[in-house]
Symmetry: C2
Subunit: 239 residues, 2 copies
Amino acid sequence: MNLALLFDEDFVTPDRAVLTGRRLAHLHSVLKVAAGDRIPVGRVDGLMGSGEVIRLTDTEAELQVTLDQQPPTALPLTLILAMPRPKMFRRVLQTCASLGIKDIWLINSYKVEKSFWQTPWLSEDNLRENLALGLEQAKDTVMPTIHIRKLFKPFVEDELPGILAGKRALVAHPGTPTPCPVHLDEPAVLCIGPEGGLTPYEVGKLEEAGCQGVHLGPRILRVETAVPVLVSRLFDACR
Amino acid sequence: MNLALLFDEDFVTPDRAVLTGRRLAHLHSVLKVAAGDRIPVGRVDGLMGSGEVIRLTDTEAELQVTLDQQPPTALPLTLILAMPRPKMFRRVLQTCASLGIKDIWLINSYKVEKSFWQTPWLSEDNLRENLALGLEQAKDTVMPTIHIRKLFKPFVEDELPGILAGKRALVAHPGTPTPCPVHLDEPAVLCIGPEGGLTPYEVGKLEEAGCQGVHLGPRILRVETAVPVLVSRLFDACR
């Protein structure tokens, strides 16, 4: 937690917030703060700044909050991701949030097992919690939006063309002849398949909708590694 | 497991290998192979090719092995990494191996907790197993070398200058003014600090030894995300 993310419900007055639970535990056990200390904070979907600890107990920390800095630039990227295995899903969410991806579509694919969609990590609260962990890691405040689409064909035929309009659209697919481009200066849409890959039919449908197949070289990477590798290749992280 | 990695001890004749344990379980439960099927294989530190399943039981799979392809190009990178928290360490090892990093130095740093060095994941067998998982993911055969250095100062003063000689040397450090370079065409050494960062003293010592401090932008990334982001920025994954 490099920044404590503050939600509307944490604010008791316009410039005072009360932390409990995970964030409070972090203040006690990792940051080992005392009254009078300042910690980096940010308001969800708002500004960042600092919070002075004005009251600290075992159950609550009250912060006097000053918010005066813009969060870091978001990536101009829409990520379309075959629903990952639950074990990996939380980490992928946190990674996406920490990288500055703000628009994430979780879609079905032949090799997405039906059980993946049953994971409790897809509940609204759990999504928000894991995205918050990624934002707190990266010092960002802007909550990504997650869209869940459990049917591949209607998504690709009816929704995807609208999502792609005016954007560079790519589908990462090992074995295609075109290497993934570098350093785009335009908004992009990136599709990443599941463990085991997209089927030829699925790649065909994505290409029909306007996505260009691109590869990342001979190595097959796990989704949680492929996402940072692709993002770092497509956009300049140092902006 | 996109490739079954074969060790010397798996070979019963020069072109026949017997799989048991984890790799056998994968053949049964994920690949669902039958006798006569071919699977991608590679010999540790050797060539890749295919193995025809010539005998399959609950306890063994015997493969007739043909090895005729070079493994993918290694990254010309030496990674010097503050020993990560055990929970994260296995994944970092697998990620490094899957990315093609072949030379990894695990070093101490002020914010590396003493207990991190006690993890069973540092045993020779466990290191080899997790590196093998990364190689099998990426379809590579060349086992990375791990060096363990539990004392920061002697390492940086006595060994690091030799490691850096003739190479571009970088230390990733948020807050330094220089952005991380892109697309190097020379061998490089990259130092990455622990969760919580390197101390100013440590950054100073690394700079004294010849490392240039570079940053990755305003976002603070976890080590497991920073490694692929940095590697993808420094080298072209599509080679």
